[in-house]
Symmetry: C2
Subunit: 246 residues, 2 copies
C-alpha cells in the first residue's frame, strides 16, 4: 500500500473518530515514565475512538507500547516513512511511531453500549463471607464489609462469641507474604486504635503459600480455605451450570 495514501487514510479515519487498526512495519520510541526503543518490525497498531493507542507485537498478551491518557495524535509524512506521534501532558509522555510499510488498514465506527458483567472478584468473595460468616469461623458475627474504616480497608470484620474483634482478609487466589503482612498491618492498626489486644486475624483464600502460612501462624493468625463464588447476583440457575463446568 502506498505510504502517502495510507497516511492520509489513517488521518481521515482518526479524524472521524473511527476505530482504526493498522498492520504495518514500524519502529517505536517512547519517552515518559520510562523510556523505550523498539527497532523495525511488523506490528499491529490500534487507535480507538477515545484516542487510546495500543501497539501489539505478533505475539503475546500485552501491548509492547501504548498511550492512554487523552493524547493528541498527529501524523506527518517523511521521505521513506510517516510518523504517528502521540503526546500527553500529565504524565508527560511522548510516543513516536515511524511507519515504513503498511499491510492493511481497518477503519469502522464501532458502537458498544454494553458493559461487562463479572462474577468471582474479591468483592464477591467478601460479600459471600459477610452473608455466610460460618464459612470462615463458626461464631463469627460480621459488622461490615469492604469498608474503609479508620483502621484501613478491611474486607470483612466483626466479633466472635468471645468478644474478640475479628478481621478477615480475602484473597481470590493463593495468599502470599503480601496478604499476611497486609493482615498484620490491619490487626496492628485496630489494636493500637482501639487499645485492645484481643484481635483475631484470618486469611480467607482458596490456598496459601507455605512461607505465608508459616509467617501467619508465627504471628498468631489463621487461615481458612474459601473459594470465590462464581455466580452472578440474582441469577439462581447459574451455579448449576458452573458446577457442571468445574
Amino acid at each position: 500500500m502506498n505510504l502517502t495514501d495510507a497516511c492520509a487514510a489513517i488521518e481521515k479515519s482518526i479524524g472521524k473518530k473511527f476505530s482504526t487498526i493498522i498492520m504495518c512495519n514500524c519502529e517505536i520510541n517512547y519517552f515518559g515514565r520510562a523510556r523505550s526503543h523498539l527497532a523495525q518490525g511488523d506490528r499491529i497498531i490500534i487507535i480507538k475512538s477515545d484516542s487510546c493507542i495500543l501497539i501489539h507485537k505478533p505475539k503475546g498478551r500485552n501491548p509492547v507500547n501504548w498511550m492512554s491518557s487523552t493524547p493528541e495524535i498527529t501524523l506527518s509524512m517523511e521521505l521513506d516513512y510517516f510518523q504517528l506521534k502521540a503526546s500527553s501532558i500529565k504524565p508527560k509522555e511522548e510516543l513516536l511511531i515511524n511507519v515504513f510499510e503498511v499491510y492493511s488498514i481497518s477503519s469502522h465506527p464501532l458502537i458498544d453500549t454494553e458493559q461487562l458483567k463479572l462474577a468471582g472478584s474479591e468483592r464477591d468473595m467478601s460479600d459471600m463471607i459477610y452473608e455466610k460468616p460460618q464459612l470462615v469461623k463458626e461464631d463469627f458475627k460480621p459488622i461490615n464489609r469492604e469498608e474503609k474504616t479508620d483502621y484501613g480497608f478491611l474486607d470483612v470484620f466483626g466479633y466472635d462469641s468471645k468478644g474478640n474483634f475479628v478481621i478477615v482478609e480475602c484473597k481470590r487466589y493463593t495468599a502470599g507474604l503480601d496478604a499476611v503482612t497486609q493482615l498484620r498491618r490491619y490487626v496492628e492498626k485496630v489494636k493500637s486504635s482501639k487499645g485492645v489486644s484481643n484481635v483475631v486475624g484470618i486469611i480467607a483464600a482458596p490456598s496459601i503459600s507455605p512461607k505465608a502460612l508459616k509467617m501467619l501462624t508465627d504471628w498468631g493468625f489463621s487461615y481458612k480455605q474459601v473459594n470465590a463464588p462464581k455466580n452472578f447476583k440474582n441469577d439462581e440457575i447459574s451455579q448449576e451450570k458452573i458446577n457442571k463446568f468445574f
Copy 2:
C-alpha cells in the same frame, strides 16, 4: 460481509498462523478464574500467531476479554451467528464469542524479531544506587544488589561507616504503605536471621505518600528522594536528549 464466508476466512487465517483481526458485532461469555458476560455490541477481536486472543471494546486501554495460555481455537457456524471458542486446560478456562456481524477482517503474516529496549525500571534504579551509593546515604557501602537472600529480595544492601547493616528498598514511583511493610519485613528478617539489631532501612523513591512516610518514621526507617535513571546503558548521548525533553 457474509457470515459463512467470514467464518471460513477466519478459520483459514488462523490455520495459517496469520495475525487475524476482526471488527464485528458479538456477545462474549467467559468461564474460568472468574466468570463474565458481555451482551451484544461492536468489538475488535485480535488473534495472534501464538493463539493469544484479545477482545477490545471501542474504548479503553485494556481488553474486555482475553485468553492467553495456549488455547485451542475452534469455529462453528450456527444459524444467525458463528461461534469462536477458545479453551485452555490449566488454568481451566473457556472463552465463547458469538459473532453476529462482521465488519472487517485483516489477515497478515507478521514477522517481528526485535525486542523492546527499556530504561528506567526499578532494576536500573538499584543498579544506579549500587554504583552511586551516596545518592541514598553519605557513608553507604553496598555489597550487592537485586539479590535473593534468605531474607527476601533485597534491592540494594551493605554497611554504613558505623557498621550498621543497610537495606535499601527502591520504588520507581511513589512509595506507598506496601513498600514500607515490605521494607519492614526484610529488616525484621535480617535482624532475626543475623541476630543483630543495628539494621538501617531506607526507602529510595521519587516520592512517598504521607501515610507511608508516617509509618516509615514510626518504625525508625528513613526516606531518600531518588529518581529512576532514564538512559540506556552504553548510550552516553541519550541523557542529553532526555534532559532536553524533561
